[in-house]
């Protein structure tokens, strides 16, 4: 049996206008009220295997910032489908997004990717834009980055720039995150639980950086929560491998069969 933590977004301090409170007080405080809307936020994957987690984090932030009914545009290079997989509407819906409001664009090259992103950011058409830029992008220099930031500022549409397999480079982004997957809070029967991310704020324009959090995404409330909060509710730690012991609960008596 699992108990939902009812402790939701408890944002300390006045939230800046146009900010999305993530639900973690310390995170929002470090960001000055929450993730700023109408800005560029870069999301780097910590490792090649963390790309899905980074995309999940970017998607979660995008659906949180876009809200219930606004469309989300997801721009991907064409080769991303073979490298990172095909975006699944079922999976998007199960993360809490509106699967009928997501529009996916496959672009042939980086230049087209950036142009499409700029166009999407120029108007209030979408609630959030996710752009996947794989690898080092020569075209995404400081000028292009600044252009994206200005377009986002003018329209108020946030841009989540997902950078799989890339090293951080100077940019005009408001925040830069590094995301890794983290062990989830196990469900009864040793089943994987809700997505948990280890995020590090690598850089923030005009704010503190270098901080790290472990977040669990709460789909039903479209907000992050601290996994430790709810972990205590169902902890029946028993033996197992060393890795098992390090993690939180497990209950071999209840095997969940889907």
């Amino acid at each position: 049996m699992r108990i939902i933590p009812t402790l939701a977004a408890d944002c300390t301090g006045p939230a800046e206008a146009g900010c999305w409170a993530s639900g973690i007080a310390s995170l929002d405080a470090a960001l000055g009220g929450g993730l700023a809307g109408g800005r560029v936020h870069e999301v780097y994957a910590a490792d090649a295997d963390d790309v899905a987690a980074a995309a999940g984090f970017a998607g979660a932030v995008a659906m949180g910032m876009a809200g219930e009914r606004a469309a989300v545009l997801w721009l991907r290079p064409q080769r991303a489908a073979s490298r990172g997989g095909i975006v699944q509407a079922h999976g998007w819906a199960e993360l809490g997004g509106a699967a009928d409001r997501i529009v996916i664009g496959l672009v042939p090259d980086t230049l087209a990717l950036l142009r499409a992103a700029i166009d999407a950011l120029r108007g209030p058409a979408t609630g959030a834009v996710i752009v996947e830029g794989w690898g080092a992008l020569r075209e995404l220099d400081l000028t292009a980055s600044r252009r994206l930031a200005l377009a986002a500022e003018a329209s108020g549409v946030p841009l989540l720039l997902l950078r799989p397999e890339a090293k951080p480079v100077p940019s005009a982004a408001r925040t830069r995150w590094q995301v890794a997957a983290a062990p989830s809070r196990a469900l009864p029967g040793n089943a994987p639980g809700h997505p948990v991310f280890d995020i590090t704020l690598l850089r923030q324009r005009g704010g503190p950086c270098g901080l790290g959090w472990r977040l669990e995404w709460n789909r039903d409330q479209r907000a992050f929560q601290e996994p430790a909060l709810s972990g205590a509710v169902v902890s029946v730690p028993v033996g197992g491998s060393a890795a098992d012991r390090a993690s939180r609960p497990a209950d071999p008596n209840h095997r969940r069969i889907a």
Binding site: A99, I104, P183, S184, P192, A258
Partner: protein, 488 residues
């Protein structure tokens, strides 16, 4: 049957086949008919409704020929000159029309002849089907001339009962007795004189053209001229209450070459600025830029696809503006990237994961779909990313048909910490020609028919994967493992 008040009495105007067999005919008074058959089903004649219906039928007949005309009260003439080969000859055409009308539960009498009048007369008076057109026309009764009751009676009294008999007479004597129109009608029936039919008016195609006094290669001139064309088109569209879905611009170069550019919009539009922007996008995507050479002679704009578009009234909330902005953005990106590159996802009724969604071009207007809402408080059961085809992985399981213990994917070893499963997804056996197999029979129909056991697993680092074993142990001796998807 239908009745109307004619000459002071309610008379039958139209009777169905059943009533006709009972000996009832148009012209009989309703009182007489009731006296013979007290249980008649009677309705009032509605001529306006008949005319409207005939008009709709005639418009429907434009499927077969562009030249269609109505012959009141109950006839339609199609000019099939040069169109019958499209439908498999005259026989194919007439059977096609009969089938189409039969699906509308209409009975019809079809006849073909050299002239419109002859075809109408054959359809009304001749026994069908007509084998020998010439002979059938000559055997028609004189009423087929359409000269009115009095003239027909006079002809019959003169001993002329068929068209053939009238045609054998010298035309001078017929003119003297029945007037020139009798001879004209006769000549048209016998095919000696042809009169064009007056087809139903068709809306003029939306085709706009500008010619230049002399060839121009100046881009600004062409652009200004095109903007002018768009404004003209927009005016015409507004008059008709339409919006364009597709726009085709053709540039005619003075040396005979022509460039054609097409754009498409997701919503009907008649906003010149928007169309202009889309064309600029389209020109921007050309692999080789437009070469004006010695200049363009003329440009044309053609709108092959239009849809009704009511004048819009802006609402007070910004919602409509947002929707318009989204469709505008989709139009622009679709024009630039190609419409199949920008898509929405539509649920499919299949439990096979890679067939559970369909990507439809976002520019195509779709009915709103509802994706199944996830169960409250359940973790994601389906991955955010799916690999198609699935990636083969090397798996070590503790027991043969148990969950994976560790696996190797992309040359890295992953230690499984948590798992859930199996979620068993059977193949769609009803699609296989040889039906359902249980047990060892699965092998012979290839690997497509194998059951998959899906496990949702998480490795020690917290990465979440969707892995399946392709085949049960009783289906296949050594089933392989695949990594199918990645969870966030």
């Amino acid at each position: 049957m239908l009745v109307a008040r004619i000459r002071g009495a309610l008379r039958l105007c139209a009777v169905d086949a059943h009533a006709r067999r009972q000996g009832l005919a148009p012209g009989l008074t309703l009182a007489d008919a009731r006296a013979r058959h007290p249980d008649l089903v009677v309705a009032d004649m509605d001529e306006q409704a008949d005319r409207d219906w005939l008009k709709r039928l005639a418009r429907h007949c434009r499927d077969w020929s562009p030249l269609v005309t109505i012959v009141p009260p109950d006839g339609i003439t199609l000019d099939i000159t040069g169109v019958s080969h499209l439908f498999g000859g005259e026989a194919g055409l007439s059977s096609g029309i009969e089938d189409a009308l039969a699906t509308m539960r209409m009975t019809c009498r079809l006849a073909m002849a050299a002239t419109a009048e002859a075809a109408q007369a054959l359809a009304r008076h001749a026994p069908l089907p007509v084998e020998d057109e010439h002979g059938a026309v000559r055997a028609l009764p004189v009423a087929a001339l359409g000269l009115g009751e009095e003239a027909s009676l006079a002809l019959r009294r003169a001993g002329l009962t068929t068209i053939g008999a009238v045609a054998a007479r010298s035309s001078a004597s017929i003119v003297a007795r029945f007037g020139l129109q009798a001879v004209t009608a006769l000549r048209r029936l016998t095919g000696e004189e042809a009169a064009p039919i007056a087809p139903l008016p068709q809306p003029a195609p939306l085709h706009f053209r500008r010619r230049f006094a002399e060839p121009t290669g100046h881009q600004a001139t062409v652009a200004a001229c095109f903007a002018d064309l768009l404004r003209e088109a927009s005016g015409t569209l507004e008059e008709r209450g339409l919006g364009g879905r597709r726009f085709a611009l053709t540039l005619f170069r003075s040396d005979g070459a022509r460039h054609r550019l097409d754009i498409e919009t997701g919503q009907p539009t008649r906003d010149p600025a928007l169309v202009m922007r889309l064309f600029e996008e389209r020109i921007g995507t050309l692999a080789d830029p437009l070469d004006p050479g010695f200049g363009y002679d003329s440009i044309t704009l053609f709108l092959p696809v239009t849809e009704p578009l009511a004048a819009s009234q802006p609402t007070l909330d910004g919602n409509e503006r947002k929707t318009a902005a989204l469709s505008d953005l989709i139009d622009r990106l679709s024009t630039r990237l190609g419409s199949e590159r920008l898509f929405r996802l539509i649920p499919q009724d299949s439990h096979i994961p890679e067939q559970a969604q369909l990507a439809l071009p976002a520019i195509r207007e779709t009915v709103p779909v509802r994706w199944p809402a996830p169960l409250r408080d359940e973790p994601p059961m389906r991955p955010l990313f799916l690999f198609d085809p699935p990636h083969p992985v090397a798996v070590i399981a503790q027991v043969p048909d148990g969950p994976p213990h560790r696996f190797r994917w992309r040359r890295k070893l992953h230690e499984v910490r948590l798992y859930e499963g199996p979620e068993r997804i059977a193949a769609e056996w009803w699609r296989r020609p040889d039906g359902h197999h249980t047990g060892a029979g699965g092998e012979q129909s290839g690997t497509a028919g194998l059951t998959r056991d899906y496990y949702r697993i998480e490795d020690v680092r917290g990465r979440r994967y969707w892995i399946f074993r392709h085949g049960l142990y009783d289906e296949k001796p050594d089933p392989r493992w695949y990594l199918h998807g990645l969870f966030a």
